[in-house]
């Protein structure tokens, strides 16, 4: 089954896909921005500041999702010794890190008009900051270790330690009395968000997911060419 994921086989797809993904991203983003900044209503309590939600929430969701995927791929790579899993994980991490930073900064900007402060050592905010540190450690581990086996081992350990923080981030608003509001969207129970706000939120989430796919494809292609460059040196 792993043969389907052989770099030689998938490069022909991944090298052509970015331009289509970029085109789709621009279309979905244009619809999302029109909805988020113009068409969606203001909140009865928070006024127009609620519009920050349309960048803050998708960024946080995707940052958490990508870290979970990176962990899963690293563990699979470690168990199966199939190196392409590590390559996919490494290519996913930069966009996850940027989404994490976006979630922290936009959350801080949203905090000022709603809570009256830029920062609070609240469970949700602190756990997102810890996640950014794990992303940072993961990315640095790929830069500092030359030996491939060592980097596979260290990066997997970092993700395993970091994944403990993901459910803490998700449920922090339920487990502790936090300044951060509880989740408004639930998959299994009725969401407390109105459809006029849910629709733009989902569109912006789709746009952000397309952007992370675009960055992943570009980074993955770069990593494959790097490997091929080393291969040419050996010829």
């Amino acid at each position: 089954m792993f043969k389907l994921f052989e770099p030689n086989k998938i490069f022909s797809i991944t090298s052509k896909a970015p331009k289509y993904v970029l085109f789709l991203f621009v279309i979905v983003l244009s619809v999302g921005l029109t909805e988020a900044l113009i068409l969606s209503p203001e909140d009865y309590k928070q006024g127009h500041s609620v519009r920050i939600m349309y960048v803050h929430v998708p960024a946080a969701w995707i940052a958490l999702g990508i870290f979970s995927a990176v962990t899963l791929l690293s563990i699979l790579g470690y168990i199966t010794k199939f190196k392409n899993f590590f390559l996919i994980a490494k290519s996913l991490a930069p966009s996850g890190f940027v989404f994490n930073i976006v979630a922290l900064v936009t959350g801080s900007i949203w905090g000022k008009p709603t809570w009256g402060t830029w920062w609070a050592w609240d469970a949700r905010i602190t756990s997102m900051l810890i996640l950014a540190l794990f992303y940072g450690m993961y990315l640095i581990s790929w830069r500092i270790y030359e030996d491939k086996e060592k980097v596979f081992q260290v990066s997997t350990i970092i993700t395993i330690l970091g994944i403990i923080n993901v459910p803490i981030t998700k449920y922090s608003v339920d487990w502790w009395n936090t300044l951060h509001q509880p989740a408004s969207i639930n998959i299994f129970t009725k969401s407390s968000i109105h459809s006029s706000m849910l629709f733009p939120l989902l569109i912006m989430t789709a746009a952000f997911a397309l952007f992370s796919l675009l960055i992943f494809l570009m980074k993955y292609n770069t990593e494959l060419i790097k490997i091929k460059n080393k291969g040419l040196d050996r010829l």
């Binding site: 921005l33 803050h56 960024a59 930069p94 675009l214 060419i225 790097k226 460059n229 040419l232």
Partner: protein
């Protein structure tokens, strides 16, 4: 209408700075990754050009090398 969108009852500065920060981060990441991609690709093309005909023919047998060389203009 335009003023309402820009000022947003006093929340405009917070909303616009959040969106601006988000898209500047996206643009920076895109440009960094694209620069890395172009750098690696140019390195590959230069190395490929330096191979002698026998080695170049052997390297050309690999599909991925053909893909890299054929798809060299855009991403």
């Amino acid at each position: 209408m335009i003023n309402e969108i820009l000022i947003m009852n006093g929340y405009g500065l917070y909303v616009w700075s959040s969106f601006l920060f988000t898209f500047l981060s996206f643009l920076s990441l895109y440009l960094i990754i694209k620069t890395q991609y172009i750098k690696e690709k140019n390195k590959f093309i230069a190395k490929f050009g330096n191979l002698n005909s026998e080695r170049a023919a052997s390297a050309r047998l690999q599909n991925i090398n053909k893909e890299i060389l054929s798809n060299s203009t855009n991403i």
